[in-house]
Symmetry: C2
Subunit: 385 residues, 2 copies
């Protein structure tokens, strides 16, 4: 049930004192082969952390032997010293494993601006220990070590016919995409070259992690890495593998939504009958970023006016006065006028469904978001993260 | 000190039971001439309220004799019945004043979806009473009658050489622009044709109301109407009038910022050395819409990493690793690295200054915003508005 479920992978998660809580904070996932093909997607934020700058280069040859990840510091906006820390980290992992440093992906998460000498000592100095802790049962320790304000580890496994995919993810705040949204490591023992992995990963993230928009804030460190060991000796059909990978990414995305900072509702915003999928995404994302709508849902108020006010800020194709809004199966607005009674809507359950019918085509798109709560404000004001 | 300060204007504000609080809720501002030239800007939200649909047409000939405004209901998404209510309102005002209905601007504010028969009865039925209450001292009553969650009336006056400008505004939530941001009525006794008013108003709102982005939510009802009576008989130089109008709009904008729903900080985000003013606006606006940044300021946390993470989501011209961030006069980040100590920054005062130096040109732009607070969440979740 982890990244070590697929054959050919080992992992570990240890305590290095990066987190003030004393919890696990340094993780390593290693691909023992025989293949080392890989693909990755990174944040589209132009302000990228040092590990992202490093890892983008590491992926150029489509080969990755290991991913090392730390929580407790983002190593972003830490200058050339910070980049050198990332480089030293990759070299230390490479030396311990007998691989090339250019095949080591580095991921960091935590406070932006954190990456001083103490940080370097804890991460680079911890490499021998985390390598020594590697085990074929180490997936869950690794998943625990990448948590920040996450309250639980996120893991998922999809089992194919003789092959499998495993994944782990972290992400609680700064949950809005560009490409990826968080730190994710996915492993598979299927025998697939990097080009096949890349195509499948881009398709999967486009409709999963990219559709999660919890708080509209795009992180500087997001990385999703997919590694294939080929240890199963099986090459699944591309469509079959792609479907399994997408299912795994969706499962992890929904786990991230369910554990978003301070949230009390998981909101699924679905736009139907849009002229294009892009239009549907634009409309659903605009609603997902309306603080007024999100605060209303927190207050169990089916405020459809705030939905339409957000829809109207987009340049999607629609007639503003021919839009239906359905909240938790009650069509509260039809053709831009009040329809069924708001009293029919029960917003006390955590899951909320909002369906926006644009009556302008046949495309559909979904964005997953959360409500805006006192707890979100508290978590993000009461401490630097 | 109100819209009735300039010669040639009368106003009134009365109680019609639209607000559950029993406060004034129907306002009228009348231009007694001799001129009736006017200009207006409206929300760029494509989901426009019925009064906006009506008033856009009323402005086509550049003549406005009166503006009638109600709080306690937005008359938005209320269908053809709602549009007819707006039409009937304008006709009732026109009949009472002996002017054309096409020269009457109608503005509404309150809950979207509110505009039933009871609403119509209170607004249309109140026209004789509000006309009877008109007075050359009625400006403040009108300013009180357009308040919703505003805690105080917003008024401003600029006095020129023999002429003056007066203004009133409301706006507390849904405070983000497209063109306008709220309901505003501005009067002047200067003798200026509608084309001159239009040019001056567009320039003034572009750098004032359009730069106020309290909560990123764009309203469906925003209208800024400027009426000139010509009663002073003086035609000021265009540059002089434009400067005075801009100063008045800025004063009203800052009053709106200071009274934004639930806010505990007024944040001025200034981008300097941008390649273009548009780049500066894009960067400042992205930061103003980062919930994580806004929650940090609420918590008195000078979290510059969240500033840069927001900057990186824009497509403005900059080198991500050559940006300085100064918060309350302390340069906490220089060239993308930590610089002066965060301990030097005192965020306890309500006014917060954030200066972002892009080192990429010589353009400057400012956005005014607020922090994200428990009170904002409370106000926008605890009741339908």
């Amino acid at each position: 049930m982890s990244v070590t479920t697929p054959a050919g992978f080992e992992a570990a998660g240890i305590i290095r004192g990066l987190k003030s809580t004393g919890a696990r904070d340094l993780a390593l996932v290693v691909n023992r082969g025989p293949r080392s093909s890989a693909a990755a997607v990174f944040t589209s934020n132009r302000c990228k952390a040092n590990p992202v700058l490093w890892s983008e280069k590491a992926l150029l040859d489509g080969a990755v032997s290991a991913v090392i990840l730390n929580s407790g510091g983002a190593n972003c906006y830490t200058g050339s010293f910070g980049f050198q820390t990332t480089h030293l980290t990759a070299e230390a992992v490479a030396e311990s494993l007998g691989v090339s440093a250019g095949d080591v992906v580095v991921c960091s998460t935590g406070l932006i601006g954190t990456g001083d000498q103490a940080f370097r000592d804890k991460v680079v100095g911890g490499v021998p220990e985390v390598v020594a802790a590697l085990s074929a049962d180490g997936g869950t320790d690794a998943a625990l070590a990448i948590m920040t304000t996450d309250t639980k580890a996120k893991q998922s496994v999809i089992v194919g016919d003789g092959w499998s995919i495993g994944g782990m993810a972290k992400g609680a705040g700064m949950l809005a995409p560009g490409l990826a949204t968080m730190l994710v490591v996915i492993t598979t023992d299927a025998d697939i070259p990097s080009t096949g992995l890349d195509a499948a990963l881009r398709e999967a993230t486009r409709v999963t992690f990219d559709r999660l928009d919890s708080d509209g804030c795009m992180s500087t460190n997001d990385t999703v890495t997919l590694m294939a060991s080929g240890a199963s000796g099986i090459t699944p059909e591309p469509a079959e593998f792609s479907a399994a990978l997408t299912a795994l990414c969706q499962d992890l995305s929904l786990q991230l939504q369910a554990d978003a900072e301070g949230a009390s509702h998981d909101i699924t915003i679905t736009v139907v009958n849009a002229e294009s999928e892009d239009d549907g995404v634009a409309v659903a994302r605009a609603v997902s970023r309306s603080n007024l709508f999100k605060a209303a849902i927190f207050g169990n108020d089916p405020n459809w006016g705030r939905v339409l006010a957000a829809v109207g800020t987009t340049d999607a194709s629609f007639d503003p006065y021919d839009i239906d809004v359905t909240i938790n199966d009650v069509k509260i607005c039809k053709a831009g006028e009040p329809f069924e009674s708001r009293d029919l809507i029960d917003l006390t359950p955590r899951a909320v469904s909002v369906i926006i019918d644009l009556h302008f085509g046949d495309a559909t798109a979904t964005i997953w978001t959360n409500d805006l709560t006192h707890e979100y404000v508290h978590e993000n004001s009461a401490y630097a993260s």
